[in-house]
Symmetry: C2
Subunit: 276 residues, 2 copies
């Protein structure tokens, strides 16, 4: 998906919501467990209930990998079910040397090889340039580089002072020399909204994937105050707050309601910022 297609989705749906499919077999409604693939069945219904309200879906690879072959089958079915006009992000946080990143790119971008052809992948920057560039060989695909995460552990290294600012700032400055804002996004946690000002200095137009709104305590309004651009430039993710809003037969409808609330707040922000 190109940048202009993404922006046009955002304007059309008046939303920059990403629904995180961190689907945990222990948290889905009991009645789904009689289906042959309960995890996919859950995701399918979540997608049906929210597809007109969001512009991206983001399955978290770990949740599927934890079930071995069966889990991978659920992930493949889920990718296939995501409508092709919605950005599909695999939250895999991969990072390795060149020949290995080539293989990860095949695993998540090359449907003929693996059964999956996601539009975007989250990657970790620690191994530098060659760990990231193999993904860029795939036209129209995105890499989303970890910059500043919303977890407690982000303090351990991401805030380290370097000659170029905090480590997360150095990551952004360096990675922006590898490709443009039509190929690279950054992960920036919502719980750090004041840091968005600094980040926008180095990444004025890159899309930022923002987890941490909702369950992790981030505020959508603050994220927008500091991070929104004329093209929106934000994809805000909510996982648990939407998909586990209810765990009865009513779960998909409840998920829709939560997604709708966020979409309406997003619409206000888009109007306020003059994006729509």
């Amino acid at each position: 998906m190109t940048r202009s297609q993404l922006i046009s989705q955002i304007k059309q749906k008046r939303s920059f919501l990403c629904v995180g499919l961190d689907t945990d077999i222990n948290k889905i409604p009991e009645f789904l467990k009689t289906y042959p693939d309960p995890i996919f069945e859950f995701n399918k219904r979540i997608i049906d209930a929210t597809a007109d309200l969001c512009i991206a879906y983001k399955p978290n690879a770990a949740f599927y990998e934890s079930h071995g072959v069966k889990g991978l089958q659920s992930l493949i079915s889920t990718w296939k079910y995501i409508p092709k006009n919605i950005l599909s992000i695999i939250d895999a946080k991969r990072g390795d040397i060149g020949n290995t990143s080539d293989m990860y790119a095949r695993a998540f971008f090359d449907e003929a090889a693996s059964g999956m052809g996601f539009d975007a992948i989250t990657v970790t920057p620690y191994m530098g340039n060659d760990s990231v560039t193999p993904y860029l060989k795939y036209d129209g695909k995105w890499i989303i580089i970890l910059a500043l995460t919303s977890s407690a552990g982000s303090k351990d290294f991401q805030y380290i002072e370097t000659p170029d600012g905090h480590l997360y700032e150095t990551v952004i400055k360096k990675a922006n020399t590898w490709a443009g804002d039509d190929r690279i996004m950054y992960v920036v946690g919502a719980t750090k909204s004041t840091e968005f000002t600094g980040i926008r200095k180095y990444a004025p137009d890159n899309f930022l994937l923002v987890p941490g709104v909702g369950a992790q305590g981030g505020s959508l309004q603050e994220v927008c105050q500091y991070g929104i651009t004329k093209d929106c430039g934000l994809i805000v993710n909510s996982s648990r707050g939407i998909i586990y809003a209810d765990n009865t037969e009513n779960f998909a409808e409840a998920a829709r309601e939560e997604a709708k609330k966020l979409q309406q707040q997003m619409e206000e922000e888009l109007v306020k910022a003059g994006v729509i």
Copy 2:
């Protein structure tokens, strides 16, 4: 596998060799392609040919993931086939927030959940403490944290100057506060052998997993000169140099010869350092 079991393997086999199973369908001998699972068939024969010469096997997750479900089945079969007295390392370089790392731990450590129960996993440090500690809930399992890698991109961030030394030194100092040298190893590329002196200041007794000997140009003698300890403290990996030594029907024997050469050099180093 405990630290003392690992050391006793090293002394018994007079080797600290890890065979990297970066098995690429395009590089294995043609005749194997008629087997139902050519990748597993290749690995099986490599394992049969080298098990008495090495103390660890390290499949690289990406190479298996690139084939989707079929690849994961090859990986599971490979893990099952690795003799239980040899350290099994999954080279997965995972890293995510706590609840997600919990899932990755299940994916690679919990046989009942995923079909695999590796002894050790490589992890990336960027997200800090909570991205790493979930793996430590599994008794007797190891995490192997990326410190200094042998790729060109390692210069981008790992050498950044921080108030505590280079970033890779800061990573080691910090991670050593999370667990002891009976649970944490570090990845240190063989092409940086002079840096081993500095690393041993902060990680005097941790085992170091050392890729980059052979195809990537590192020297075993230099690695030992700067990195060996009284307990050995090194696991030196070779992948391509061993497994692709030949691509005819003779490949397993050729792999054995290459492994044997390394084992003999290692034996010399172990004697020289007084480990055996």
